[in-house]
Symmetry: C2
Subunit: 475 residues, 2 copies
């Protein structure tokens, strides 16, 4: 997961202005192939001085990008040359897989030094990818405040609001006046690098009561109390809420930030919209990859890792196709007598597979984005059935006609394939919606297993319907 970093390094503090926009006009158009090449040559020739010099000119975003673009061996070499002089802000910017590879090239002390410079949410992001033992080792050596923050975040479930929330935010009692609030903002040393909203809590319970954006605070009358000028229509997010749900609420209600509360309702963190951009991006990628049996980080993985993850999916698929083949096997004698059946049978199965996939993609995505709810599920099933029927009729007609012109002497063959096409396309449409819905009901991620089950239906179904009809009507 890549994310903007809010660095707390002394360097960043010295620089006034928004460190997030520190972008080199020249490199913003992407690190050109020439640039990357010169680094690669430097790495190949062990010209550490040259490499260090070039890298020193890059900001955290471009250095992260460069590390990602290099292949694994160059990546490791580059990191070992920079060592712990690497800008800590680079690490959270890296793709998850690359991040792991980079940290593997550093020793424990170097990692502790880097993590100590990060904000707690970035630190959590880096730490949660490590194995438990390594994680414990690093945490033990963090500075006390960060250690406490990181430990309590890691106690919340993976991908929960508690993991992604930031603990650096501005909050104050809602009983303060606008003047007091402004005074606090002017004098406090403990403010985050950047903030847009002040979050308000009840002084006694520490529960959130409202929020006020800086533009409103700037323009409000100084003597008014904050609880008069604040926006009190807030929806605190429980710390255990899944990040996908959080992203959904941001999108659905146009939020810019959300307050995270613990089980007692006390304000403990804030999620900002820039983190949500990453979550939306990530979740969409994951669904798309899961449906195809791949993983979104494959670009950065080694051949062996990719092979491992993909072969699991292929084994399942092999099993499914062998079942389909065994259906064909049951009709082997018939095929021996009328081999044209073998020519036509893949058409029915393939059209079914494609039809089912269309429905499946829509349904999996609609479930993820919560566009498919209990109120419109039945209607959607009906719609998919109708679409299957329409397409089934159209393609029954087309394939029937084609086969008739190809083999006019065997009219029955046209009828059989037309009927099989109609049936299989309806089955495929229904399978495409019912399979993910059922998996979803059973709390199984519909993106992951739907595809295989779908093909099991459309292939096995397609062969069985077509060959079965042939047996019934021709023999």
């Amino acid at each position: 997961m890549k994310k903007k970093s809010k660095k707390r390094t002394p360097l960043a503090k010295k620089k006034f202005g928004n460190s997030k926009k520190h972008i080199n006009q020249q490199t913003y158009l992407g690190l050109g192939p020439k640039f990357v090449n010169s680094i690669v040559i430097g790495l190949n020739e062990d010209d550490d001085i040259h490499v260090k010099k070039i890298v020193a000119g890059l900001d955290e975003y471009d250095l992260a990008r460069l590390i990602e673009i290099l292949d694994i061996s160059h990546r490791r070499k580059l990191v070992s040359i920079i060592g712990d002089k690497i800008d800590p802000a680079v690490i959270p910017e890296l793709n998850e897989v690359v991040q792991e590879q980079v940290l593997d090239s550093l020793d424990e002390n170097q990692i502790v030094k880097i993590v100590n410079e990060l904000d707690s949410d970035d630190a959590v992001e880096v730490l949660e990818n490590m194995d438990d033992e390594e994680q414990d080792q690093i945490i033990q050596h963090l500075n006390p405040e960060l250690k406490y923050q990181v430990q309590s975040s890691l106690n919340y479930p993976e991908d929960s609001a508690g993991r992604i929330m930031s603990r650096e935010f501005v909050s104050m009692p809602d009983s303060w006046t606008v003047k007091e609030a402004r005074q606090f903002l002017l004098t406090s040393d403990e403010l985050p690098d950047e903030f847009y909203t002040v979050f308000l809590v009840d002084e006694k319970t520490l529960r959130p009561t409202g929020e006020i954006t800086l533009d409103k605070l700037l323009r409000a009358k100084p003597d008014l109390k904050l609880n008069v000028v604040m926006n009190g229509e807030i929806v605190p997010v429980d710390v255990h809420t899944d990040q996908e749900e959080v992203a959904h609420m941001f999108r659905e209600y146009g939020w810019m930030s959300a307050m995270v509360v613990d089980t007692k309702g006390r304000l403990i963190g804030v999620i900002n919209i820039d983190d949500v951009v990453e979550i939306v991006h990530e979740e969409a990628s994951e669904d798309m990859m899961a449906i195809a049996g791949a993983e979104s980080n494959d670009v950065y993985r080694s051949v062996f890792d990719i092979f491992k993850s993909r072969s699991v999916w292929l084994v399942t698929n092999l099993f499914v196709t062998m079942i389909a083949a065994s259906v064909v096997g049951g009709f082997q004698d018939m095929i021996a007598q009328l081999s044209v059946l073998a020519v036509l049978m893949p058409i029915v199965a393939s059209m079914g597979g494609t039809t089912g996939q269309q429905t499946l993609a829509v349904v999996v995505r609609s479930l993820a984005t919560k566009e498919l709810t209990s109120s419109n599920t039945l209607r959607m099933i009906g719609k998919e059935f109708m679409v299957g029927l329409c397409n089934g009729t159209l393609f029954a007609f087309l394939i029937g006609l084609a086969v008739y012109f190809w083999r006019p002497e065997q009219v029955m063959l046209s009828y059989i394939i037309a009927l099989a096409m109609l049936c299989n396309l309806v089955v495929a449409s229904l399978a495409g919606i019912l399979i993910p819905l059922t998996l979803n009901k059973c709390k199984v991620d519909p993106a992951i297993s739907s595809g295989v089950l779908l093909f099991a239906c459309t292939d096995t179904g397609g062969y069985f319907i077509f060959l079965g009809l042939a047996k019934l009507l021709l023999f």
Copy 2:
């Protein structure tokens, strides 16, 4: 496309505080089935008073959601009951397809009234979905300022920065002092409903020179000039830049907002991160749907519309499978002699299809997110080839073994299917990366046509390799 609305209705102005967070705690958990049901009953019984009463309690987000959840006929009925009393802010919140249906239920005067209440970016979003004639009609009747803004935005290409940018933002000359800036913010009547950053321009050229976030402005010394305290490391976005590219830059560099400039480099608009969330969401959905030959708005479409769009894809697929079938046809005599070949051939084709799809999904997504660049393309091709080789070897062995145990008397069959599997999986892996790369080079969206071309390779290829080898080695 759904998007936060920044409403300028008198109602919104009266209310102090952040109108975006106006959320009813009770409904935020989603409009329950009971609630939706009571509306449906009201609509069925033509109980307009009941319906109006319930709807009046909903904010723009929940009303938009309710309209989306209803089926087309209820949707139309509800809109005709509310009429032009509908909160204008609801319209930009609606899914594109639903928005069109809702506007179809309103007459021209009602639409003009609604659009006149919107910010220019929301107005553009609503207008760009209309056909040219209707669009012109509406624009003619807008108030002069909005009319000018909308017309100039619509002159920019679809999905460009010029279309999505907001024209309501705060900018001032960088030669002002912090004090002057604050004074302006306190006294100006023309400020947007909400803003977080002040954008700075050169007084003469109107070109952007920097930006300053409100927290920095609040804390800066009053006598300093803005061009001293501002963040000057900005990257203005050209107004013609594609929205996908804009979203990519936001993600890559952790931006919160971006300044949009015209061809002369003058600041003409601003894109905020909350718009980017929608773009990221939309583009990911589109890719996922395109790869499967479906469309992301199918949930809201009528059966006939879904049928039309999906059947186009299926016709192409029919064509591809018929080519594959004709390959099988070429070996028909052989199959008649040895019908076991018909049983085994789908296994090779199907495994190829699945392997190719895994690669395809990764490559299409990586191209969209620009993780695949000229610097790592060759390496990625090599990796996919190796993964194909590894999987090919593994599954050649597995299927060879399975066939051997099934038909020990025909050892040659095991060798043939094993060899065919190896070849087809390598072909599939290479096709999965080379097809989208080639399409991308030819400026064709790889998400849309890759799938069909891939299956043409893996099906036709699978049958040809398997049956061809059988012909060569058995007959």
